[in-house]
Amino acid sequence: MSTKYLTSLALMGSLIFSGCQKLTENPKATITALTYYNTAADLQAALSGVYEQYAYDGTWGFTNRMTTYFGADDLTTDPGLNKGPLREFDMLSGTSQNIGMDIYNTWKGIYQANNLLAVYQKADAPDSIKNIVAGQCYFLRAIGFYYLVRTYGPLPLVTKPVNPNSHPKRDSVAKIYDTIVADLQKAKSLLPNQWPPTEIGRATAWAARSLLADVYLTMAGWPLNQTSNYALAAAEADYVIKNGPFNLSTPYDKVFTTNNTPETVFALQFSVPKSLPQRSYGNSCVPLEEVAVNGNSGWDDYYPEINFYKKAPACFRTDATFYTTLKLRNNDGVTYTLVNWDDPRTRARHPYYKKFRAGLNGDGVSETATSIAYMNPSTNKALDIIRYPQVLLDYAEASTMATGNPSPDAYAAINQVRHRAGLGDLVSGLGGIAFRDSVVFERAYEFAGEFGMRWFDIVRLQLLPQVTADRANEPNQIPTSITSNPTILQQKYLAPIPFRDMNLEPGWTQNPGY
C-alpha cells in the first residue's frame, strides 16, 4: 500500500471524525426544563408538582406551618419537651434561628408556580387546558404570597424563574398585594366553577373569588389600611354567597372528619398510603399522657390557651371544638381513667382540641368516650384552607365596614354561621364597630386552631395589646418587657425572616425587633 494513500486516508479519517462532535448537551434520560412542557399531560404533571409542594410535611402538611401563629390566643404549647420553636412564638419571642418556620417553605410552591407560568404558553395544548392550568397556578401563587406577606411583611416579589446568584431586594407589602390581587383576578377569569369528583381538590373560580374577598378585607386592615377595599371584599364575597354552591349543611364536628364537604371552598388533599400524609390532625394535638391501647401516645404540640377556652360561647360547636376530659390509660393497658382537663393528674392542665383528633373517619385518633383504641400521627384528612363560613364572615364584616352599619344580609351571613354552631341570632341593632367585633369573635371560635385564622385577625386589626392582656397565667409567659412596651409589641405582628436567608442575602434588612 502506498504511503501517500495511507497517509491521506488517515488524515481524511481524522477530518471526518472532527467536527462531528457537538458540544451541546442532550441529557436523554433526564427531563429538562428546556425540553419539557410540550403537551397537556406535561402541564398537568407540572401543575401537580405545584400542589404537592403545599401538601408536604415541611410546608403545610404539619403543625409547624402554624409556628409563627402561636402568638394568638387559640394556640399554645407544652412548656417543655421538644416544642421550643412553637414556644418561642407563643411567648412572642420568636427568633430568626427558629427551625420550625415551615411557613417560609411556602416559597417552594411559588417557585413551581412561577416556573409553570413562565413556560405553559409554549405547550402544544388546547387553550382551554392552558387556561385552567394557568388559572390554578395564579391561584396557588396568590395564596402562597398571601400567607408569606402576612407573616413576614416585605419580601422579594419573585414572579418568574431567577438565577440563584441574583439577589432581589425585599419589595413593599403594597406591591406584593397588587400581585396577589392581579393573580386572583386572572385566576377567577380562567378557572372553572366546578371539577369532576376525581379532581375535587383543584382550585375553582369560587376559590379565587373567596380568597380575593379575604385578601381585600386584609388590605383594608393593618398594615395597608386601604379601607376602600372593604367594598371590594364585600362584593366578591357577596357574589360567592349569591351564586356559589356552598352551604353549611354539614354538622360542625363532621367538617373535621369528612373530606371535601359542601362548605369546602379549597382544601389540600392527602394520601397516607402513597406517602403524602396530613400530620397536624391525630397525635399532634393529643396530650402526651394519653396513650392508646396500641401504645401510641400524644405529641402535645398544640392546644388552646385557657382563657380562650373559657370565653368560648356555650354551644354545640364549642363542645365539638374542645377536648376537656382526658383519658389516662390504666396500668392494665386497656382501661382508662377519665379526668377533667384541670385535674392534677394531667400534665398541662389545659383543655385540648377535639376537632383535630379523629382525622378522616377516625384514621387519626380512634376512640370512644372511655377508651382510645389507637392513634396515628398521619391522616388522610383533607386540610380545609378556605371554608364557606369564612366567606360569610368576610362578607358580614366587609359589607358593614364599607357602609358603616350592618345590613340585614350581613346579619344573615353571621347568623348562618351561628345557627350551625348551635347559637341563636346575634343581637340585632349593633353599630358598625360592635358588629365587626362580633364577627371577629365568631371567627375566633369558628376557626379555632385553624392555620392562623385567628392570628391574622389579630394582625390586621392590631389586637395584640388586648389579646396579651386577656391571657391567663399560662406556663409560657410572655415577658413583660414585650407586653409592657408598645413599640416592641407592635414589632411582633411580623415574624423574623429565617436566619439562613438573612445570611445568604446580605442586602436584606431584618424586620424590626429581631
Binding site: 434520560a29 433526564t30 407540572a46
Partner: protein
C-alpha cells in the same frame, strides 16, 4: 537487519579502503555481563553508527580515524565513551542509570530528553515496579515518588487507591490524578484495572501545572503518563512471571472473650443502675469461662492465597515488533465470600511501514469478576459488625441455621450470615484499542494521530434474601444493573523539530476530541416469592422497579506548545490549551503555562567543578483545571421519577388517585466553570560524583480558585443547595528526591532512594461564609468535619476530651446543667455555660499528613538481590468510628466488646475510660476518638536470586529469577485501630473532606509472596 548492516559495512569498507579503514568489534553488556540487545554504538564526530545484535555483539568501522572514540548508549543506561584501537575487540559494560539526565522521558504528546524537561516530573520504571507483587498501577506510585501521597482506602481486593499529587485541590470534584495510557486520556476504573503491572514500561508523573497545563481542564490534580511495553527487535522472547501470595489481616482488635463479655455486660448494667440485678449470675459467668463462643473477627475473615500469572511473548524484526501478554489475577479478599478476579489480554504491535511511516496498535481487554468487594466502609458493614457482635453467640444454631440476631452486643445482623447470604457480584468486559500513526512529512515535521476506543459493558447482580439484614426488615430484594459505556478519543498533532546553530526548537500543534457515553438500566425486584433462582429471576418479586440513566460528555481541545533551548543550556517551554466542554454553558476555557530551565553544569565556569556532574535550575508557572462540574449541571432538571416504588412524587386531587407530579428541580447557574489551579514551581535537579548521588528538590505554591461547592440556596428560591463556584484554597509545599549509590564495589552494590514530601493546605475563602460543617460521612458520625477559612481542608470537629470527671471534681461536675457525676466524660466547655452543646465543638484534628516519605533500598551481590521499602506519613490523625462502637452504647452496638471497657472508671480505679452512667454525655464527636495516625511501614521486603547465566544458557533459558517477599510486614504506629493507612476518603459528596475518617474499613492485608520470573 543483520544483513543490512553487513551490506552497509561492506559498502563503507569499499569506499574507505584507501583511508586505512578498519573494523572495530565488540560486545555491549550490562553490569552483570548480560548482553544488551539493540544498544547504539557510534564513532564520535562521525555519522557512523550501528546497533548490537541479539548477542550484544557489534562491528563498526573506525571511519578512518586513527584514535576513534566509541560512544555506546542504551535506554536506561548511562552513556559510555571510550577510546578504541582500530582493529581491536572490546567489551563495553554499561551502568544502569535510571536517573541519567540523558534519558528520554514521556511528557505528553511526545517525548523529551530528561535534561531538557522544565517542569516538575518524576519517573517510575519497570524495574522498580517489578520489585513488588503489585496488582494496581497506583501502588507503584506509593513511596517511589516525591510529592505523591498514595493511600489505599480499603484493603478490599480490586479497589482503587487514593492518590494525591501535592495535596487535595478540590472539595467537590475528584482529587485523583489524570491517567494517560499510551496517549489515551482515559484512566478510568476499567482501563486502570486492565493494566497488568508486568506490561508497564514506565510511569511518568507530571506534578506542576507548567507540565500538566497541556492537559488543560483535566490537569489540576497532576498527571500520570503510563507507557506500556513494546516488543524488541530480535528473536521471540517468552516471559513467564507467576507469583503466589498468602494474605492475612495485619492486626486484630483486643476484644473480649465470652467470659469477659459477660463481666462487661454486668459492669455496664451496674454502671447504668447500681440497684439492678446483673444479667449474668455467678453460675452463668462460670459457664461462660468454658463457652467457646465466636471470635467474630476470625469468623468474617480468611487467609486467602492470591495468585497472579503473567505470560508474555515478544519479539520482532526491523519493521514489525510485537508483544502479546496474558495476565490472570485471582485475589480473594480478607473477608469471607469476597474476591476480585481478572484476566487481561494485550497485543502491542509496532509497524515501521517505511522511513516515513510508523504505525502502532495496542489492543487490550479486561474481564473482571468480583464478589462483595465493594463495602463503602460503614459501621453497618459486616466487617465493622464483627467487632460489635456478641462473642457468646455461635454463628449457627444446632441445626446449622444462621443465628441472625442476638440479644446482646450488636443489634444488627450476624455478619457471617450477611457476608454469606448477601451477594454483590460484578462482572464485565472492557476492550480498548489504540492506533497511532506517525508520518514524517518533511525533515523535522511529523504528523501523529492517536485514536483510542474503549468499550465497557458491565453487569452488577445483587441478592439480599430473607436471611440478610435487608430480609429481616422485609426489604429483601434482587437487582441487576447493566452499564454500556464507551469512550473515544482522537488526537492529531503536528510536531516540528529543528536545530539552527545554537537554537533548538520543537513546536507542537494539537487538535483533540474525546467523547464518552454511558447508558444504565437497573431492575430491582423486592420480596421475591422464591429465592431459589438467586438473582436470575427478577420476575417473581412482589414489587418491581426499573430505572435508567444516560450521560454523554464531549470535550474538544486545541493545544500549542513550544520547546526552545539555546546552547542546550537555556531552556524554555510554553504551552496554551483551550478546552471546549459540553458540561459548561460558556464552553471554552484556556490554560496557559510557561517554564524556564538553566543547565548550569553546561556553563564554562562549571567545567572544572568535577564533583558536580549535572545541575539544572527550573522555574515554571501554569494553570490547569479540574472538571468538577458534572454533566448537565447547568441545565435545569425536572424531577420525573420517584426514588422508591411508592415514592411521594405526585398529588391526589381526590385523596386517592395518583396524578404524576413533575416539579422543577433545583436552580442552576449557567456561569459554572472549571476549578482553576495556578501553580508556581521552582526546582533543582542535580547529580554528583558521576551520577552516584542524585538530588531533586521542588518547592511550589498552588492556588485553586473557583472552587466548586454545593452552596446553600436561599429559601425564597426553593432552598436546598446549588452548584456554584465559590472560594479558593492553596497548597504549598516542598519535596525532595534523593538517590545514591553509596556502595559499588565489584559484585556488591547498594543503591538507595529517598523521597520526602511536605504539603500544607489552607482554605482561603468560601464566598463570604466563615465555615461549613460537613456531615453524613458514614452512619457512625455526623457533622464531624468542618471547613474553616484560614484552616486546612478536612478538620475534624467535636468536643475536646479531657478524660473523666474524677471524684475530687464531683462538685464541679454536678454544677453542669445535666448534673454530671464522677466517671462521666469531661469535655472542654468552650463557652463556659456549663452545658455540653455543639457550640463547644472545636477543631480536634486533621486527616491530612504533614509530610510523607518513602525509602527504597536495593542491595545486590552477584546474583542475589535484597530490596526493601519503608513508607510512612506523619502528622495526620484518624477520627475513628471503630473504637467508639466497640465501646458500645452507640447505634446497633448495645454492649461493649472491647477489652478496654473492663478498665473503665470506677471510684476505686479512676481511669479516663468513662463509665456508662445514664448521665454520661457519650459523644462520638470527641477528641477521645481522634488518634495520631502517623505510621512507618515496612511496605515491602524482597529477596531474589537470579540463576547464573552459564547454567541457564545450556537449558535454553534466557533468565530465571526466584524471589520471596513480604508486604506490610511491620507497621509502627500509635493508632489503636486496624490500619492507619485506610480511611473513608472517597466517601460522600465531598470526599476530600473525609480523609482520616474511619468507620469500619477493611485493613490492608499483610502478605507473603513467592514468585518466579522466567524468560526464554
Amino acid at each position: 537487519m543483520k544483513l543490512h548492516i553487513l551490506l552497509l559495512l561492506f559498502t563503507l569498507g569499499l569506499l574507505r579502503v584507501y583511508s586505512q579503514d578498519q573494523v572495530i568489534k565488540g560486545k555491549v553488556t550490562d553490569e552483570e555481563g548480560r548482553p544488551l540487545v539493540g544498544a547504539t554504538v557510534a564513532i564520535k564526530n562521525t555519522n557512523i553508527s550501528t546497533t548490537t545484535d541479539v548477542s550484544g555483539n557489534f562491528q563498526i568501522s573506525s571511519g578512518g580515524q586513527l584514535k576513534p572514540i566509541l560512544v555506546v548508549s542504551y535506554v536506561g543506561y548511562a552513556n559510555s565513551e571510550l577510546a578504541a584501537r582500530p582493529g581491536g575487540a572490546f567489551t563495553v559494560s554499561l551502568r544502569q542509570d535510571a536517573k541519567a539526565l540523558n534519558d528520554v522521558v514521556v511528557v505528553g504528546y511526545g517525548t523529551q530528553r530528561k535534561r531538557d524537561v522544565t517542569g516538575s516530573t518524576a519517573t517510575v520504571r519497570a524495574d522498580e515496579i517489578a520489585k513488588r507483587p503489585l496488582v494496581r498501577v497506583e501502588q507503584a506510585l506509593q513511596g517511589t515518588t516525591s510529592g505523591v501521597v498514595v493511600q489505599s482506602n480499603s484493603g478490599q481486593p480490586g479497589k482503587s487507591l487514593s492518590v494525591r499529587i501535592r495535596g487535595a485541590s478540590s472539595i467537590t470534584g475528584s482529587n485523583e490524578p489524570l491517567y494517560v495510557i499510551d496517549g489515551f486520556i482515559g484512566g478510568n476504573t476499567e482501563t486502570l484495572a486492565s493494566l497488568s503491572m508486568d506490561d508497564i514500561e514506565s510511569l511518568e508523573i507530571l506534578k506542576d501545572a507548567s507540565a500538566t497545563a497541556i492537559y488543560g481542564s483535566r490537569g489540576s490534580n497532576g498527571v500520570v503518563l503510563i507507557t506500556t511495553k513494546s516488543g524488541k527487535e530480535g528473536k521471540t522472547r517468552i516471559d513467564i512471571n507467576p507469583w503466589f501470595s498468602k494474605a492475612e489481616i495485619p492486626k486484630k482488635l483486643k476484644l473480649m472473650n465470652p467470659y469477659e463479655f459477660g463481666l462487661g455486660v454486668n459492669l455496664q448494667t451496674k454502671q447504668a443502675n447500681p440497684t439492678q440485678t446483673p444479667p449474668f449470675f455467678d453460675a452463668q459467668l462460670n459457664d461462660l469461662k468454658t463457652t467457646k463462643g465466636t471470635d467474630w473477627q476470625d469468623a468474617v475473615t480468611q487467609k486467602p492465597w492470591i495468585q497472579n500469572y503473567q505470560v508474555s511473548v515478544s519479539g520482532g524484526s526491523s519493521n514489525v515488533r510485537y508483544l502479546f501478554s496474558f495476565n490472570h489475577l485471582d485475589q480473594p479478599g480478607l473477608l469471607i465470600n469476597s474476591w476480585y478476579k481478572r484476566s487481561t489480554l494485550r497485543a502491542n504491535v509496532d509497524v515501521k511501514v517505511n522511513d516515513r511511516l510508523d504505525l502502532k496498535f495496542n489492543v487490550y481487554t479486561l474481564l473482571p469478576n468480583s464478589r462483595n468487594n465493594d463495602f463503602a466502609g460503614d459501621i453497618t458493614d459486616p466487617f465493622a459488625q464483627a467487632y460489635q457482635w456478641n462473642p457468646i453467640s455461635p454463628i449457627r444454631d444446632a441445626s446449622g441455621k444462621f443465628i441472625l440476631q442476638s440479644n446482646l452486643g450488636s443489634n444488627a445482623t450476624n455478619p457471617v450470615a450477611q457476608l454469606t447470604n448477601g451477594l454483590n457480584d460484578n462482572s464485565g468486559t472492557t476492550v480498548v484499542g489504540t492506533g497511532v500513526l506517525n508520518y514524517k512529512i518533511l525533515k523535522g515535521l511529523t504528523f501523529t494521530t492517536n485514536n483510542t476506543y474503549q468499550s465497557t459493558n458491565s453487569l452488577q447482580q445483587e441478592l439480599y434474601g430473607p436471611q440478610t439484614a435487608q430480609g429481616i426488615v422485609g426489604a429483601d430484594f434482587a437487582a441487576a444493573t447493566t452499564n454500556k459505556y464507551y469512550n473515544w478519543q482522537n488526537s492529531n498533532f503536528l510536531t516540528y523539530t529543528n536545530r539552527f546553530g545554537d537554537h533548538s526548537l520543537t513546536v507542537l500543534a494539537l487538535y483533540e476530541q474525546q467523547v464518552d457515553q454511558n447508558i444504565m438500566v437497573k431492575a430491582t425486584s423486592t420480596n421475591l416469592s422464591t429465592y431459589g433462582n438467586g438473582y436470575y429471576n427478577l420476575g417473581v418479586g412482589a414489587a418491581q422497579k426499573t430505572t435508567s440513566g444516560y450521560y454523554k460528555d464531549v470535550l474538544e481541545s486545541y493545544m500549542g506548545r513550544v520547546n526552545y533551548s539555546f546552547q542546550d543550556k537555556y531552556l524554555l517551554t510554553a504551552s496554551v490549551r483551550t478546552d471546549g466542554s459540553s458540561h459548561l454553558t460558556n464552553k471554552w476555557s484556556t490554560f496557559p503555562s510557561a517554564a524556564v530551565g538553566w543547565l548550569i553544569s553546561k556553563e564554562k565556569f562549571m567545567e572544572n567543578v568535577s564533583w558536580i556532574s549535572s545541575l539544572k535550575l527550573r522555574a515554571g508557572y501554569g494553570v490547569a483545571g479540574n472538571q468538577a462540574v458534572g454533566a448537565y449541571a447547568t441545565i435545569r432538571k425536572v424531577d420525573g421519577q420517584s426514588s422508591t416504588p411508592y415514592g411521594n412524587a405526585g398529588y391526589f386531587y381526590d385523596g386517592t388517585t395518583l396524578s404524576v407530579a413533575t416539579p422543577l428541580g433545583q436552580p442552576t447557574t449557567t456561569t459554572l466553570k472549571w476549578e482553576r489551579d495556578a501553580t508556581t514551581d521552582a526546582g533543582i535537579d542535580a547529580s554528583f560524583l558521576h551520577g552516584r548521588i542524585t538530588l531533586s528538590i521542588d518547592a511550589y505554591y498552588k492556588k485553586i480558585t473557583d472552587l466548586l461547592y454545593a452552596q446553600p440556596n436561599p429559601g425564597w428560591n426553593n432552598g436546598g443547595t446549588y452548584q456554584n463556584n465559590i472560594g479558593s484554597m492553596e497548597n504549598k509545599g516542598i519535596e525532595f528526591a534523593i538517590g545514591g549509590t553509596p556502595l559499588s564495589e565489584g559484585r556488591l552494590k547498594w543503591s538507595t532512594n529517598l523521597t520526602l514530601s511536605f504539603n500544607r493546605n489552607k482554605v482561603l475563602s468560601l464566598a463570604g461564609i466563615d465555615s461549613v460543617v460537613e456531615g453524613n460521612i458514614g452512619s457512625a458520625q455526623n457533622g464531624e468535619v468542618i471547613l474553616v477559612v484560614g484552616q486546612p481542608l478536612g478538620n475534624f470537629y467535636g468536643y475536646k476530651y479531657l478524660g473523666t470527671w474524677k471524684t475530687h471534681e464531683a462538685a464541679e461536675a454536678a454544677s453542669f446543667v445535666k448534673h454530671y457525676v464522677p466517671g462521666d466524660s469531661k469535655y472542654f466547655d468552650r463557652n463556659g455555660d456549663h452545658d455540653y452543646s455543639t457550640s463547644d465543638y472545636m477543631v480536634i484534628g486533621n486527616g491530612t499528613p504533614k509530610y510523607s516519605f518513602g525509602w527504597i533500598n536495593d542491595f545486590s551481590y552477584g546474583n542475589w538481590n535484597l530490596s526493601f521499602m519503608i513508607q510512612g506519613t506523619h502528622g495526620n490523625q484518624i477520627f475513628s468510628g471503630t473504637i467508639p462502637y466497640a465501646f458500645g452504647g452507640e447505634g446497633d452496638a448495645r454492649n461493649p466488646t472491647i477489652k478496654d471497657f473492663l478498665n473503665s472508671w470506677s471510684p476505686e480505679h479512676e481511669t479516663d475510660i468513662p463509665a456508662m452512667h445514664p448521665s454520661n454525655a457519650h459523644a462520638i464527636n470527641s477528641s477521645r476518638f481522634v488518634y495520631d495516625a502517623s505510621y512507618v511501614k515496612l511496605k515491602n521486603l524482597s529477596i531474589s536470586y537470579r540463576l547464573p547465566h552459564g547454567l541457564l544458557n545450556r537449558a535454553m533459558i534466557r533468565n530465571l529469577e526466584v524471589y520471596v517477599s513480604g508486604q506490610n510486614l511491620v507497621t509502627m504506629t500509635h493508632y489503636p485501630g486496624y490500619d492507619p493507612e485506610v480511611s473513608n476518603a472517597n466517601y460522600g459528596a465531598h470526599p476530600a473532606m473525609a480523609q482520616g475518617l474511619e468507620t469500619g474499613v477493611v485493613p490492608n492485608p499483610r502478605t507473603y509472596t513467592l514468585g518466579l520470573r522466567a524468560g526464554f
